[in-house]
């Protein structure tokens, strides 16, 4: 026990110089009583706040002695207020701490999964070092950072780990970080992936079955229409344009498979392959992405599919448009076959040129012809390789829809897109803006500068090249640039209900005057007819008399 402090209950009992044998025993007793009364008063809780003055004074003095502020007497009211405030803070702190820990904690938990190594042992690691399909995201990020584009290092690294996880899960041959598309509620991180051959056959079988089912339905409907043309209310003569079958997985617009996730750490979701109808429709609408793949896309013309399909269609358009590479990096494969069957669609395979000589950075920047597109562009039809849709619908035409043959559109002209590996200088600009803007990353150190291109048609698409390395990336909202405002397509004109013909024609109802005039005319005609009959009768009678 040290010397008693004024606030401890033992104070006053053992005063030096005062012994229980003194004459001042009654004094200490009364003083003690007074002290105890005073202390009891101090300990009395306040009715409004539940504190008591005793504890408050104790806390205040402790705080003053701990902090030793200058001019304590001047700011004593503030100290008192702070101490009182701290009382309340304490209780809320526990609540708030729990609350705050949650979001960051949850996020950290998700990311933690990324940081754990895969279950394979050390043997697998050695195999992977040889040929890994994993792209070096950090290296790419470094180059883009020189251009002022890119995500923060944290995020790049997390994406790197997420891609690694994707590769360990799926049988993937090549993989690339495609970019990031911003959305309203959440963003999308997208990876472009190519499977090993032979991995995606299962899906095509399912879809063929669906197509055959659709054709069967079409035949049945045609027969019904023939029988009941007169009696039933007229069926709609609207025949949707023939469904253009989508391209096979692994070719054309579906050459790559895309995986998306909202944040690195969340599971990767595979996007469905894209159909030409979706691409054609996506060209006409302009909508923000919400961040949820199952959200419906409400628009006119109605988009066939939900947000996952719209996202895939936009990715396909962006991949076909601004994905470029330095000239000479890719060259055509030596064997060329199957060209004639496809109707001159062009070659669609390329391979890396082992003899690639990189051009200097200055040349890459100065002339746009130093870059070429290495992805097939998408035709108006929505595919990369044109297909005549009327070849396949011969069965339906034989059913006898003779009236409607006249309405078939004229034979579609074969659509030809620019062949693969065309240089950028042939890209048309928009109004007077060139399609691409090129600049070196720095003018100050030309030895280590890299050439950077940004697309003006798809704002957010960037490409860089430095020696043998190059890459493309996209960061943006996912929309094409147009200087005019977007006008949605107008709905088609309302169909007439009954086709005009000799049997059924629509005419206006006669007005009142017309009806009266008609009635008067009829009465006159009746009168005239009666007179004629009388005359006829008279004539007949005369004739009979003659005979």
């Amino acid at each position: 026990h040290g010397p008693y402090q004024p606030h401890e209950p033992g104070y006053g009992l053992y005063q030096p110089g005062y012994s229980p044998y003194d004459d001042q025993i009654p004094d200490p007793k009364s003083r003690m009583l007074a002290i105890q009364n005073a202390k009891a008063y101090l300990l009395k809780s306040s009715t409004t706040s539940g504190l008591n003055l005793y504890d408050h004074l104790a806390n205040m003095l402790t705080k003053i002695l701990d902090e030793q502020p200058t001019n304590a007497v001047d700011i004593i009211e503030n100290i008192s207020k702070d101490v009182k405030w701290a009382q309340f803070q304490k209780k809320m702190d526990t609540l708030r701490d729990e609350h705050e820990i949650l979001p960051t904690f949850e996020a950290a938990e998700k990311r933690k999964a990324l940081f754990l190594k895969a279950n394979g042992g050390d043997e697998e690691l050695e195999e992977e070092i040889g040929e890994t399909p994993l792209p070096n995201v950090m290296e790419t990020a470094f180059y883009f950072e020189q251009a002022g584009i890119g995500l923060s290092k944290d995020e790049s690294y997390l994406i790197f780990l997420a891609l690694k996880k994707l590769i360990s899960v799926q049988p993937i041959q090549t993989c690339r970080f495609w970019g990031k598309i911003l959305g309203l509620e959440m963003n999308y991180i997208i990876a472009e992936v190519q499977y090993h051959e032979g991995e995606e056959e299962e899906e095509t079988e399912e879809e063929e079955v669906i197509e055959e089912g659709g054709k069967g339905m079409g035949e049945v409907e045609d027969e019904d229409e023939e029988k009941e043309k007169q009696d039933e209310p007229p069926k709609s003569t609207y025949k949707p344009p023939p469904v253009i079958p989508k391209e096979q997985n692994g070719t054309g617009a579906n050459k790559y498979v895309y995986f998306v996730c909202n944040e690195p750490g969340k599971p990767w979701v595979k996007l469905p392959p894209v159909t030409p109808a979706q691409i054609v429709c996506a060209r006409k609408i302009k909508k923000f992405f919400t961040g949820r793949l199952d959200a419906p896309v409400v628009s006119f013309p109605p988009f066939p599919g939900n947000e996952a399909n719209y996202l895939r269609a936009q990715i396909a358009r962006i991949s076909a448009g601004p994905q470029i590479s330095p000239i000479g990096f890719y060259q055509f494969a030596e064997e060329e076959g199957d060209e004639e069957e496809e109707g001159g669609g062009g070659r669609d395979t390329y391979e890396e040129n082992p003899d690639f000589q990189p051009l200097s950075v200055a040349e890459m920047v100065d002339s746009l012809s130093a870059w070429v597109h290495h992805v097939q562009s998408i035709l108006k039809q929505g595919r990369c390789i044109w297909l005549n849709p009327f070849k396949k619908s011969e069965e339906e035409e034989e059913e006898g829809e003779e009236e409607e043959k006249a309405e078939d559109p004229d034979e579609l002209q074969q659509e030809i897109g620019p062949p693969l590996l065309t240089p950028l200088s042939e890209d048309e600009g928009i109004q007077n803006i060139p399609a691409w803007t090129a600049q070196p990353s720095t003018n100050l150190i030309p030895q280590y500068a890299i050439a950077i291109l940004q697309s003006n048609r798809w704002p957010g698409a960037y490409a860089f090249a430095s020696g043998k390395k190059f890459d493309n990336i996209y960061f943006g909202w996912g929309h094409k640039y147009s200087p005019e405002t977007h006008t949605p397509a107008l709905p088609p004109p309302v169909q007439t209900e009954y086709p005009s013909g000799p049997e059924i024609t629509e005419t206006r109802d006669p007005t009142l005057e017309e009806e009266l005039a008609f009635k008067a005319a009829r009465e006159e005609a009746l009168v005239a007819a009666e007179e004629e009959e009388e005359e006829d009768d008279v004539e007949d009678d005369e004739e009979e008399e003659d005979d």
């Binding site: 960051t104 996020a107 911003l182 309203l184 509620e185 923000f288």
Partner: protein, 200 residues
């Protein structure tokens, strides 16, 4: 500045400049002395302009100034409580501002436009009673037309709140909750997104 080394001071914007610049569409060229010519103007406007005897050209510099002014006025935002208004009417920075809390930071109503309030007087009396006149003297983001023209996201595991404007694509506002850090920055083509109603 074109290269971040040499900076030139831009004069403040005038109403006339803003009105003229609104008629221009298309990207910026990158050259401050580039002169635009009007391509589509009504006959009336043309007559009016030709009366002055000057040809209707605008320099890109003026367009730049007007665009900056428009962006600041339309989408320059601050968190609630960062600025206070004294009873005398002057507005200054609040040195005691410690940041919004996490729940507050996710709500659009805790951010204000940093420009002359337009909608304050339209609020009902009940709403006005809840406001604190020292901190709530600006328009909140909640009532922006069209609805939903801002996206709010938490980044970096919930430590940073990022608000992006959809009306001016490229305007990003960030704030670290429970700290004094906030700010907004614009990276973009300098064009207003007029297709916004179709895109939502």
């Amino acid at each position: 500045s074109l290269n971040c080394v040499e900076w030139s001071l831009l004069p403040p914007a005038t109403e006339e400049m803003v009105a003229q610049a609104e008629q221009l569409k298309g990207r910026f060229q990158g050259d401050p002395s580039f002169e635009y010519e009007y391509t589509e103007i009504n006959a009336e406007d043309a007559e009016r302009l030709f009366e002055d005897g000057k040809e209707p050209v605008i320099k890109e510099e003026a367009r730049l100034i007007a665009t900056i002014e428009q962006i600041d006025r339309a989408v320059g935002i601050i968190p609630r409580g960062a600025f206070v208004k004294t009873p005398l009417g002057s507005v200054h920075e609040n040195r005691n501002f410690e940041g919004l809390s996490l729940t507050e930071a996710k709500k659009l109503s805790s951010y204000f436009h940093f420009s002359e309030p337009v909608n304050l007087k339209n609020k009902t009396l009940l709403e006005k009673a809840d406001l604190d006149p020292s901190t709530d003297f600006l328009d909140s983001l909640e009532h922006d037309i069209p609805q939903g023209s801002w996206t709010a996201q938490l980044e970096k595991g919930g430590t940073v709140v990022v608000l992006r404007s959809l009306l001016w694509l490229g305007l990003t506002f960030y704030h670290v909750p429970m700290s004094k850090q906030y700010g907004y920055v614009y990276f973009g083509t300098g064009e207003k997104n007029l297709d916004l109603p179709f895109m939502l």
